[in-house]
């Protein structure tokens, strides 16, 4: 966020703003009143400007809920939230009654495309909301279609294309209006292994070129390590942070090479030893945190 940080992103093909930081402090989210479910318990972590941070944890650990809170999507009548979230120097209202912070993008688990819009029209949704002129929209959409390799599919409807293409459309739709912070909630979870890897590679490339801040939630350790510069590991519900670690592989990474790499496999096994207790379901937290 300081001017010094700008230097690190010098030379991307497109002049993109550096992502702001996302700072989460002591965030507790309780669903369903006093006797309800505690989704997260005093979670604190920071995504630095321009960082790709992955959040991993067993399902139901509240990691998606954290993203929803950052995007002001938590229904106000269902949850009690304490702690604070800041995006840059803006304080975030986590409830859905509040406005989502400008410059924030969210790629959902399901592609969530509008079935009545073509690929191009879906990508243009955010541009339309921003009131861009037709010609500008068109130019930007074409640029995005190229970026995610869907040039030939602009006029297709979502039901006519594959799951991987739909998720790429969804990613392009978010990139289109150029948010500097992107939240991603297991966006590649439903895809087959090859498609997944190629989308991971594309994501790393796009992130590296644009230096956006990305918070990427997954329950797949290999994915978390392959993508994230840093990994934040959640415990079982109620989600607490049990580990935070820098991944020792240089960015930009190539997932295709990485997944065949011996050192990567060793590193993954090591991390897994440390956090697997949380995934076992019966696990012993002392061991997992050691």
């Amino acid at each position: 966020m300081t001017s010094a940080d700008n230097d690190t992103s010098a030379g991307p093909p497109r002049a993109a703003p550096d992502g702001r930081a996302v700072v989460i402090e002591e965030l507790s989210i309780q669903f369903g009143g006093e006797r309800g479910v505690l989704a997260t318990d005093r979670v604190s972590f920071t995504a630095e400007p321009g960082e790709l941070i992955t959040i991993i944890g067993p399902s139901g650990c509240g990691k998606s809920t954290v993203l929803n809170a950052v995007a002001s999507l938590v229904p106000e009548d269902s949850a009690e939230i304490t702690g604070s979230i800041r995006v840059g120097d803006q304080r975030i209202d986590p409830y859905s009654s509040g406005k989502t912070a400008p410059g924030l993008g969210y790629v959902f688990q399901r592609d969530a495309l509008m079935p009545w819009r073509t690929v191009s029209q879906n990508i243009g949704t955010g541009l339309e909301i921003r009131g861009l002129g037709r010609a500008e929209q068109r130019a930007r959409i074409d640029e995005l279609l190229g970026m995610v390799g869907l040039e030939a599919f602009g006029d297709y409807y979502p039901h006519q294309i594959s799951g991987g293409m739909r998720q790429r459309t969804s990613l392009a739709r978010t990139l289109a209006y150029d948010p500097d912070i992107i939240l991603m909630d297991e966006p590649f979870g439903a895809l087959d292994a090859q498609t997944r890897m190629s989308l991971q590679a594309q994501l790393i490339r796009i992130w590296h070129e644009s230096q956006k801040t990305i918070l990427f939630v997954t329950h797949d350790l290999a994915e978390a390590i392959a993508l994230g510069t840093r990994v934040v590991s959640f415990s079982r519900q109620p989600g607490r942070i049990i580990q935070e670690f820098e991944v020792p592989f240089a960015q930009p990474r190539d997932p295709f090479a990485l997944f065949g790499d011996h050192e990567f496999a060793e590193y993954q096994a090591e991390v897994w030893r440390q956090i697997s207790g949380e995934f076992r379901g019966s696990g012993d937290e002392q061991e997992a945190g050691a």
Binding site: S72, T100, A112, M114, R117, T118, I129
Partner: protein, 263 residues
Amino acid sequence: MRIRSKRRLAAARFGLLFAFLLLWELVTGGFGLGLLLFEPLILPAPSVILRSIVEYGQSGLLLFDVRATLTAAFLGLVLGVFGGAAFGVMLGYWRAGAQLLEPAMVAINSLPRITVAPLLILWFGLGMTSQVVLSLFTVFFVIFWNTYLGIKTVDPELLRVVKVMGGSRLEVGRMVVLPTVVSWIFAALRTAVSFALSGAVVAEFVGSTRGLGYRMTFAAGLLNTPRVFAIMTILGVVSVVLVRGAERIERRALRWRPDEQLA
């Protein structure tokens, strides 16, 4: 065995119809053979019916009646679609209203719709108004239910997508709710069109001074069976044309849907 070629299928269907008409003509005293299995009063020959259609057309009444019926049906359709959609959207969003009114809507809906026809004649007289109102009434409920239930199928994920992008409530309505509702309305259009037509015709049966329905009861009263058949034929043709048209509009409007969703 299945008939694969489309043209062949059409030819076979046409042939079957032709054979049926020939047989019909034969047993009703046609072709100068004097084979008369049915009284002309009960079942007139196709040739007689055809002649009746031609006479009806030449008298100028056919056009007059078709116009009257179609005008009523069209007005009923338009008013019913808009009214039903508006009411459906309203109850879709106004929870308390829906809770209060749903049983009433179910009750009125389960009433055979044409039974209100005599009442409408009492209220609105013998003119066009009764026909339009009956037509509207039948269409209204079809569209109301589709809209009302359709609103509940709005994908909450899409609402979130638009919200995160900074879309206003108006944009959420335009980009997500409206397309969802419209798709449900279009899916009901075919039914609505045929309901609109039958609504208008039934109102003409009960009390009117023009229109295909009126002319039909009038002919029946005079024991003019060929005219009754003639009007039935005309109604059939009109109905097929309208429903096919609605189908086409639906297909165009809902192009984005996977095929299996097109009923």
